[in-house]
Homo-oligomer: 348 residues x 4
């Protein structure tokens, strides 16, 4: 930590800073410049907070040197984290393609979609059963009934299932069904929920918040990792900016930045990141070309009748086209879409 | 709702839109323009979603006409909502001044602060007991012990207490203590929590999310109002923008915009909106001058020792100066700081 | 300047940094920490660029310590800059109220507006004669004819005139007429134009760009100050954010932040900062309450017929109401609206 | 245009709107809804402004139906615009790769770079000769001397040259040298400059402003197209958002959105869009995968000694690697990097 003093700071103020540095069990190194004095606080340091220094009299600003995240940092763990979801690995050379409807609406809808996306090349199935809607007057999800349908779809297609958890009270129920917990953008800083998921040993797909920085995303991952759960997948899903021609702005830079900062797998959600079915395929291709370890895509057999997010959902045939393109880009990158090691056990 | 067709849309596509309009029990009115056709969907309409229309073939865009929020709308309820917190009214001519530390740290800290802010002119006390921190390694709050200290501070000073609720599981405990539930920026779209608070009959101070639009804030209020709880106070607390010289950007425009759109009381949090103690007073004055019904301000007896948010906390003497300025601005606006109708029962 | 090395940087890399520091005639101070090494570059330094250090191998990041602006800095010049516009002073205790139409449209329009705003209490007149419009198909301004009308309005009302300059080729013409050059948001980083205005000895009202940081605004002022022209007025006029309920987001924080960082006068444009006539008065009041040295407001005798910006223009009677409110807030702040020392010489 | 009346608007107000519609030679179509009245204004309409309607009493809001840009619209001109730069075509199946230093610094620097990038596969050369710097204390460019060096580089390598124009006064000089005028982000709304370039018959590479919407970029292109110059190339170069881990946020969505809205060629600048040499190659690949018609990349023989933008400049060998990757992605997309039809006439 670097504490930069104001140009006219007094020796007493500098001394107070030095004492605070020592009180935090750090060693102060003082540099007297022409305009100002700088105090470097060196040593083991477990809290990233600059607050106790910023409030001292005579302090101009405080700058952190080390990254505030540790367990997720590539500096600490240089090799990629690779871990299995049911049937294949994430974070290595293989690419994960998660697909399915925004919400599970009926048994036939989810089974039809599951078979269609598996046939098109997907290797995991997504589907929401608790829906957080902006309006209190909209469809709110099927709950446990939806989980049962998803489990049946897994049974038939061999694909693991990815389901969003929205509250601590849903954990016990969901543990019985899901393979991967999804934490949505709105819950990225629901620290109680994150800490609870850190106690489980199931994979967590953690979505970046609408206006969260990349560093904040990594700090949220830290909550899960700190509990001993090392199976965290990060997901860029678009950020909020001034541009209104798309629902969100895909922060494609976040893909190589995250791959540089962390050893965790990083995937892209081109559906939420654009909000328009027409733009999903180009942005999915861009994500893989930029180095993403996978994609998560909304697919619905009849988007015009979808209970939610119809506008950004692909029809199965459009999804199949997209997978072909993604596959071709993956090959150029020296990668492949991970194959599922389980048979399809029922038709549709 | 207005459905605007693409320039080259076919009669079949227009008919499909008309049928969908009718299926939603709305009446279609068609206008054939030179470049395009517009279909107005007229009638009672309970869902704000434009999704079912946007996904139809041939549709260029869909524009909502009516506001998606109803219960909070000034069109529906033209008069200001005025309701009592323990001891005085909010939303009328009087101004509420809520003050206190970010976190309750000890009995002496909260009692000292409570007496100091009451003496300076505050009429309600704030203090967090569950702290959502960006880092898993930071102080996480005192829990019920903190609630007890707050209750004692209320007892001694006569000020109602405002405490943040962060999870559904905290409700029963908090109901025994708090006068006003605060919903923090990160939980503005925690719809399960909002719905639960709508079932209570305690006032709710709902903070705008870091990157939530004004319309989304009003939609979140709708969740609480829909449960029958009409005592919702909206709070602007700064939004995230590209500017980094302050912690957030105070959206001062939101004050008159909200006062125009809704009948609910609107207050400002200049502490989070700026992040610097030096800027709290000017922005508090600006908020009242712009028409806010109150302010909520962080005060700490010794900011340099605060467990959190020390940088933006005012010392009691600075807070007292600020209250004098706010009072003077309020008088120019024809308003006053609401007096508390309860005596101070213990000294500090 | 602080150069922070990567954790695994080599002695050779550190030496290369040290040599680069010396090559820039700075003195290196090295701190070896547990995780990393920090090199402070101390001394007189004329360029704010961190580039030559950031590109060196082994460098993690480079942090500037001193402010990149000098002439505008309050550290360098602690007292407020106060300077006369024709008839009164700016930057001292008095407040400037600049009013007038977006564009000069006709002789009668500008004379009528000038008399109305002077009567209401304005002390300077604004009006555009070259209009930069987003669309090539819109009204583009009256040019010199407009300048003549403005000069006549000054003659009749005694108010100095503020006119936007948009290009270097307009300088000679405008020098004959205007009292204050306005540089619009889109030209805030038109450095050739700024440098040219630095050569004149007329006041410059420099508007913040739509997405310019406060620091960038101060760097642009530096271009004018560096030419020897010390009469620079800074203007906050709203920034672009994700919020769409107003045209821009007033960065009210910028008022106290700028007053803290610089000795230059700071004013607010509530018309562009909101884009709605209904919100101009509350935001003008907020600006003065936050410490602004003045306001610039769009006024039009018949907004429905305005060639541009009608939506955000006040009718003269609404402007008169606003001035009364601003005056009352100014008094609370211990200030007053600057009086004009010249008589009205003709009626309207 | 759709004019939506307030719920309580009067018949007189509706009549005033109808009259204004007719005064603009449009035909009004009135729909009386349950809550409100809507007036559709139908007909040929040459101005995109909604202002004259928004200021009328009783009007809630006004919504444009048709796009405000015409000449650049794909609705008007469904086929891709394809046009030659010296030696090859832009906008068709072939991809343009423009490379070179931020600033021309010396004859040897630009010749060395030109030969290196041509050998690596670039087909056009960039280099700035007038540098707009944020600080008045930084390097400002070589001017005509730089143009002469660029011309010599073109002579030797056969590559056309792309140079930024910053002011109207530079036009005559630059016309003698450059093949493609670049308009920088800060000048995207310098309408006088755009109009002047519309009078020339040289290609214009128009960069999106830092905080310009996609629609505003297309409106700026309209200024050039309206002058009869149809050779406009649009360039996404990153937008300003809250994320600070990269210099800008690449709006990768803008690539497919622009390809959908306009027939003009669209390219990407991964250097400015990221600001870090390490992220240039992944984002260049992403751009081509998303459908861009080319890229423009900063290359410098010795980034550590670059007068500007060294941090984001690639060394020639890194650039050569990137071109190989871009070529492979282009092939997957069924495209190729355009070959130059001119010989190299001198070595380096």
């Amino acid at each position: 930590m670097l504490i930069i003093m104001k140009p006219n700071s007094t020796p007493q103020q500098i001394e107070a800073v030095v004492n605070t540095v020592k009180a935090h069990k750090l060693t102060p190194h003082i540099t007297h410049g022409v305009e100002t004095t700088i105090i470097a606080a060196v040593g083991e340091f477990h809290t990233p907070s600059t607050d106790p220094f910023e409030v001292l009299d005579g302090v101009e600003s405080v700058k952190r040197i080390s990254q505030p995240f540790k367990l997720g940092s590539r500096q600490v763990h240089p090799e990629n984290s690779v871990f299995p979801i049911d049937g294949f690995n994430v974070g290595g050379n293989d690419i994960v393609v998660i697909a399915g409807p925004c919400a599970v609406e009926s048994k036939s809808q989810i089974l039809e979609t599951a078979h269609a996306v598996r046939e098109a090349g997907a290797n995991a199935l997504r589907g929401g059963v608790f829906k957080p809607r902006t309006s209190p007057y909209a469809f709110q999800g099927l709950g446990e009934e939806g989980l049962e349908y998803l489990a049946e779809a897994r049974e038939q297609t061999g694909m693991p299932i990815v389901v969003e958890i929205m509250s601590q009270v849903q954990l016990d129920l969901m543990l019985k069904y899901v393979d991967v917990f999804q934490v949505g953008a709105r819950n990225m800083q629901n620290f109680n929920l994150l800490r609870m998921l850190g106690e489980t040993r199931k994979s967590v797909l953690l979505k970046r918040g609408l206006s969260a920085t990349i560093e904040e995303l990594l700090m949220s991952a830290e909550y899960i990792l700190a509990g001993g759960n090392k199976q965290v997948i990060l997901c860029e899903r678009g950020i909020r900016t001034f541009e209104t021609s798309t629902r969100n702005t895909t922060d494609i830079n976040a893909i190589p930045v995250l791959k540089n900062l962390t050893h965790l797998p990083v995937i892209l959600d081109p559906s939420h990141a654009t909000g328009h079915a027409d733009y999903v395929a180009p942005i999915a291709r861009a994500g893989i070309a930029a180095g993403a370890d996978g994609i998560i895509v909304e697919v619905h057999p009849d988007p015009a009748k979808a209970a939610s997010d119809g506008k950004q959902s692909l029809k199965p045939e459009k999804f199949a086209e997209m997978v072909k393109q993604v596959k071709a880009i993956a090959e150029v990158m020296g990668r492949r879409i991970a194959p599922i090691n389980k048979p399809v056990t029922a038709g549709w």
